[in-house]
């Protein structure tokens, strides 16, 4: 489903060149629930932005659902994001001007879906997260947990093959976090592939597989419990 | 002021906003300077005195029907006699035109005979007013030298057939132009003619009928001739007794129609108080001044609003940064002066470009329209006004910025 080989990402400024990811390899199979962990600055967010086609990478290969994405232009990448990927952000990132219904509608609009089908899907997704009754509310009128559930509904509405979550419970208290986590597990059981970045070991433990990133490289705890100490350096120019 | 370097560095990162504000200030300065200048040009002669005593003065335009040429002499004399006998009328006269009316005679005036082919330019351009011995008292002109016409000096002439070798009264401005030594009384003046008129009187001031720029260089050069012009068209000036103006405005045309109904006094502008004459003569000047004034006011308001809008946006964008500065020990005053200085720098850039634009725009207007060169004082005033406007506009958002609490630094989003 998601396969990166020898992938690298370099940030250049006038003065230095920083490797955020270096010789990065990962392979997530269809239907897997993978937790990505790692310390601050290890590159896990960079990995997620590249995986979600939010950013381009510098070298290597990335196959998403069998498609080599490095050659795609902005339009094609937008289309893939819209059709195949669902995002769940730590800060929810709902659009404050739009009510719950309209927020969930955004990706469907870009897909050019007919009004009736849109409505059906939105209501289904909201039903799923238990917020159908709040469709007319604005994000500011909801609790953090509810906002994140709306964000999940928005991600689900388009029936994406791949769900990318960035610290989905980071801004929530324990109880709300548990609810969100249960929801993710349920979605996974129904067949979606989920990649979740977190630094909460308890959460990570609930995934099928854990991938650990340190200094821009993968340490797959479940498959290769070795520590590539020799590469664990930030390279400079 | 030690903050200038970091401010410049910050501005470099907001090029678009900086350029937009500076550009707006520049364009506003250019337009406001020129608009103010047009206002001054248009209003400066609004208050120019005509030399007449303008209160209690009525102007009537009259056209005889079925009579022309010599036949109009007796008709007009009957009119004038009737007018002068009317209770409420102090005096009345007939004249070919009057100040601010907009049409009349103009020709060259000289101290030497004019040659037949007009090769030499005359010393002065002047207007001719054809009238009688009642003109001075009716118009309320102030005689500063010499005497008025005597009744026996006044005669009727054919407008296409007369010689100007007669006694004349001139305005002080023309007298001084012709005889700079100040001794014009009794001297000759040649009115595009080989035969001289003799100056017998000087009035303090008497404006020409035109208000346009083309007449600006002889605006007060006038000659009164003791001639009444034959023909079917003429103007009566009527001086009413104090307090009788409103009544006379109706009584005078009624009296004239009663005297002889074979005449036309136009419905529009046929009977006008001199206040109306003045208002109509300067209508477009006043209107243009008002228009430019409104444009300036709205323009300054919009520019100020634009500065408020963009600065507010910047403040919003930099809340965290401001919080960090506050956390690091910046006082409220430091933050306030940061934004004021930033605006001053942008404003300075804007007014430099704007001053150049203002002058360029004026030069273009000068070359295409009857317009004078822009005085630099206007640019200077405009520059100061816009800088102050900028500081005023930025004050509210800057105050808001200065109230950002230091704790903002710790907020994540």
């Amino acid at each position: 489903m998601l396969k990166m080989t020898h992938l690298s990402k370099v940030y250049r400024t006038e003065v230095v060149e920083t490797y955020a990811l270096r010789d990065f390899n990962i392979d997530v199979k269809e239907g897997e629930f993978v937790a990505v962990t790692g310390p601050s600055g290890s590159g896990k967010t960079t990995f997620l932005t590249i995986a979600g086609l939010l950013e381009t990478f510098t070298g290597g290969h990335y196959h998403l659902d069998g498609i080599e994405v490095s050659q795609l232009n902005d339009n094609a990448r937008s289309k893939i994001r819209n059709e195949k990927i669902g995002f769940i952000f730590q800060a929810f990132n709902l659009i404050p001007d739009l009510n719950v219904y309209d927020n969930v509608e955004v990706p469907l609009r870009y897909r050019g879906m007919k009004g009736a089908e849109r409505k059906q899907r939105i209501m289904d997704a909201l039903e799923r997260v238990g917020l159908a009754s709040r469709a007319k509310h604005y994000p500011a009128e909801l609790s953090g947990g509810q906002q994140q559930r709306v964000a999940i509904a928005r991600a689900l509405a388009g029936s994406p093959r791949l769900l990318l979550a960035d610290e989905p419970t980071g801004n929530l208290d324990t109880q709300m976090a548990r609810g969100v986590m249960e929801l993710l597990e349920e979605i996974h059981r129904e067949g979606a592939t989920i990649v979740m970045v977190t630094h909460d070991p308890e959460l990570a433990a609930r995934a099928q597989r854990n991938v650990h990133i340190i200094d821009g490289q993968v340490v797959d705890l479940s498959e290769e419990p070795r520590f590539h100490a020799q590469n664990a350096r930030v390279a400079d120019a | 002021m030690m903050q200038i370097k970091p401010i410049l560095a910050a501005l470099k990162r907001h090029k678009a906003g900086t350029v937009l504000i500076a550009l707006q200030i520049a364009l506003t300065l250019a337009i406001v300077c020129n608009a103010l200048f047009i206002i001054r040009q248009r209003t400066e002669h609004l208050s120019r005195p005509t030399g007449l005593t303008e209160s209690n003065l009525l102007a009537v335009s009259n056209r005889w029907v079925g009579a022309d040429g010599k036949a109009t002499e007796s008709l007009t004399e009957t009119d004038l006699a009737a007018l002068r006998q009317q209770a409420g009328v102090a005096d009345a006269t007939m004249i070919n035109s009057y100040p601010l009316r907009g049409g009349g005679w103009s020709l060259g005036a000289d101290t030497k005979p004019s040659d037949k082919d007009n090769v030499r330019r005359p010393t002065a351009q002047t207007t001719l007013y054809f009238t009688d011995e009642h003109a001075l008292s009716t118009m309320g002109l102030k005689l500063v030298g010499g005497r008025n016409f005597r009744p026996e000096e006044v005669r009727w002439v054919d407008p296409r057939d007369f010689e100007t070798n007669v006694p004349v009264i001139v305005s002080q401005a023309l007298a001084t132009k012709l005889y700079p030594d100040g001794h014009a009384l009794g001297k000759p003046v040649y009115l595009s003619s080989t035969k001289p008129a003799t100056i017998i009187g000087i009035v303090e001031r008497l404006q020409v009928p035109w208000t346009g720029n083309w007449a600006a260089n002889f605006a007060e050069n006038s000659v009164l001739l003791p001639f009444l012009l034959q023909g079917n068209f003429g103007n009566y000036l009527v001086r009413t007794r104090p307090g009788e103006m409103a009544r006379m405005t109706k009584a005078v045309p009624a009296l004239l129609f009663k005297t002889n109904r074979m005449r036309v006094i136009p419905e529009e502008r046929g009977v006008r108080t001199f206040a109306e004459v003045r208002e109509q003569a300067y209508k477009s000047d006043r209107g243009m001044a008002i228009l430019m004034g409104v444009v300036c006011a709205v323009l300054l308001a919009i520019t100020a609003a634009g500065i408020v809008g963009l600065t507010s946006f910047w403040v919003g964008q930099r809340r965290k940064q401001i919080g960090v500065r506050r956390a690091l020990g910046a006082t409220r005053h430091d933050i306030l002066s940061y934004f004021l200085t930033e605006n001053l720098l942008i404003g300075a850039g804007g007014v430099i470009v704007g001053a150049a634009l203002a002058i360029g725009m004026n030069l273009w207007l000068v070359s295409h329209f009857e317009m004078e060169r822009l005085s630099l004082a206007y640019v200077a005033v405009g520059v100061i006004a816009l800088l102050l406007l900028g500081q005023g506009a930025v004050l509210a958002p800057a105050m808001k910025a200065s109230r950002v609490p230091p704790v903002e630094a710790t907020r994540s989003v």
């Binding site: 709902l94 960035d166 | 678009a16 029907v65 079925g66 963009l310």
Partner: protein
């Protein structure tokens, strides 16, 4: 998608009411100022006879020595030259004309005489200037030649004197002389008054009365317009006719450029002949100007109109610069939203669409405000301009359309840069900002 974006745009208008109000006001004021002054300019720069403006030519000839001309041919002719051109009859149609001011004496002795705006010209003029008739028609060339006492009157005068009935064949008394009416003109009000901008300044009330030029000369009717002399004409009417004083305008209808070229050759030949005869002591200097050229030459568009149009356009420009800044602020404030939309699959194109349409809705609101202000401004046009010009400035359908189109187009143009900036927002912005 358009409807969706339009809806979003409307919603966004409500979101930062202050910022939105500022922009709408800036656009509204800018557009209104431009439209008001444009309406005046449009009226003054109007082509009053578009179907024939390139076939009608005003004739000029230098009958004064070069220093008296002050660099430019004068816009009027002497009686001598005008009559020579009439006699030569080199154009398809032609007329000499000058304004007169006769008084109309009503048949009813209880009614007061009135002055009608009048011209003395030739019968050809009616067909030349495409003047429509309600009743009857022009007088004939034979009547011109016979110095006949005939007249054509305007509809308004016909209403006043004859209560609007067909008055052809009836008589009208002008200054004590009777004239037989040959025709009544239907509504005819060309503005500018191109056939005589010299004496009207270009604008004035419709002309009500016409009589034959030849008859007016017989009756020694002086011009009610300008008369310019470079030398003393001497005394009396006949001396004036023979003098070098200029007071007549002359028009020739020349359907093709070949006709115009031929006519110009004729004029040059005439001037050369006058030079040989000793009347002109200078080389031939003649001009033929068509209607637009003639109006231009006579500076019919008042400087007020041009200056205020220019100032207004500058005003609009500043308003747009202002709008660019405010739109930039408005759009960039929504960078998070743009990031989310990009992450959820919006392409750059869609971001462009959304924000340009949003700008268009701002422009539309500005246009509506502009329309209201333009309407109010129309009421006060009379403050700045002569009433004869002010009455021509009207808020018609085309101006309403133009107001809205200019407001929307200008705002969308102003939105290009802010929108480009908005489309540059990276979808990854969301994650990185945490």
């Amino acid at each position: 998608m358009f409807a969706y974006y339009f809806q979003l745009g409307l919603r966004s208008l409500r979101r930062n009411p202050l910022l939105t109000a500022l922009m709408v006001m800036a656009i509204g004021f800018g557009v209104a100022a431009s439209m008001i002054t444009y309406s005046v300019f449009r009226a003054t720069a109007n082509n009053p006879i578009p179907q024939k403006s390139d076939q009608l030519y005003a004739v000029q000839i230098a009958n004064w020595k070069p220093q008296d001309l002050e660099g430019e041919l004068r816009p009027a002719l002497t009686y001598t030259d005008a009559m020579a051109f009439i006699r030569a009859h080199k154009a398809r149609r032609q007329t000499a004309l000058y304004p007169i001011a006769p008084s109309v004496i009503p048949a009813d002795a209880h009614r007061l005489p009135i002055t009608a705006d009048s011209y003395a010209w030739y019968g050809d003029a009616f067909a030349m200037f495409d003047i429509p008739f309600l009743y009857g028609g022009a007088w004939s060339q034979a009547q011109d030649d016979a110095h006949a006492s005939v007249a054509v009157i305007g509809r308004e005068l016909n209403d006043k004197l004859f209560n609007g009935i067909d008055s052809v064949g009836k008589t009208i008394n002008l200054d004590g002389h009777d004239y037989r009416i040959t025709g009544v003109i239907d509504d005819w009000d060309p503005q500018p008054l191109y056939f005589d901008p010299v004496n009207t300044g270009g604008f004035g009330d419709p002309i009500d009365l016409f009589i034959p030029f030849t008859r007016a000369i017989d009756l020694q009717m002086p011009t009610a317009g300008n008369n310019n002399c470079n030398t003393d004409p001497g005394n009396g009417w006949d001396n004036w006719l023979r003098s070098e004083c200029i007071w007549i305008e002359y028009w020739a209808e020349l359907p093709t450029t070949a006709d115009a070229d031929a006519y110009k050759r004729y004029l040059t030949g005439y001037a050369a002949e006058q030079q040989r005869a000793g009347r002109f002591k200078w080389a031939p200097n003649v001009a033929l100007r068509d209607v637009t050229d003639w109006l231009d030459f006579n500076k019919v568009v008042p400087p007020e109109s041009k200056i205020s149009l220019l100032v207004s356009l500058g005003f609009l420009l500043i308003c747009l610069v202002n709008t660019i800044g405010l739109l930039l602020a408005k759009f960039m404030r929504r960078a998070p939203e743009i990031g989310v939309r990009r992450a959820l699959g919006a392409s750059r194109r869609e971001v462009y669409m959304q924000f340009l349409i949003e700008a268009a809705t701002v422009g539309l609101a500005g246009g509506v405000l502009g329309l209201v202000l333009t309407g109010l401004g129309m009421l006060s046009v009379g403050w700045v301009f002569d009433e004869q010009i002010a009455r021509l400035a009207t808020l018609d359908v085309s101006l309403v359309t133009l107001t809205v189109v200019v407001a929307v187009a200008a705002t969308v143009m102003a939105a290009f840069y802010p929108t480009w900036r908005a489309a540059q927002v990276q979808p990854a912005w969301q994650l990185k900002s945490n």
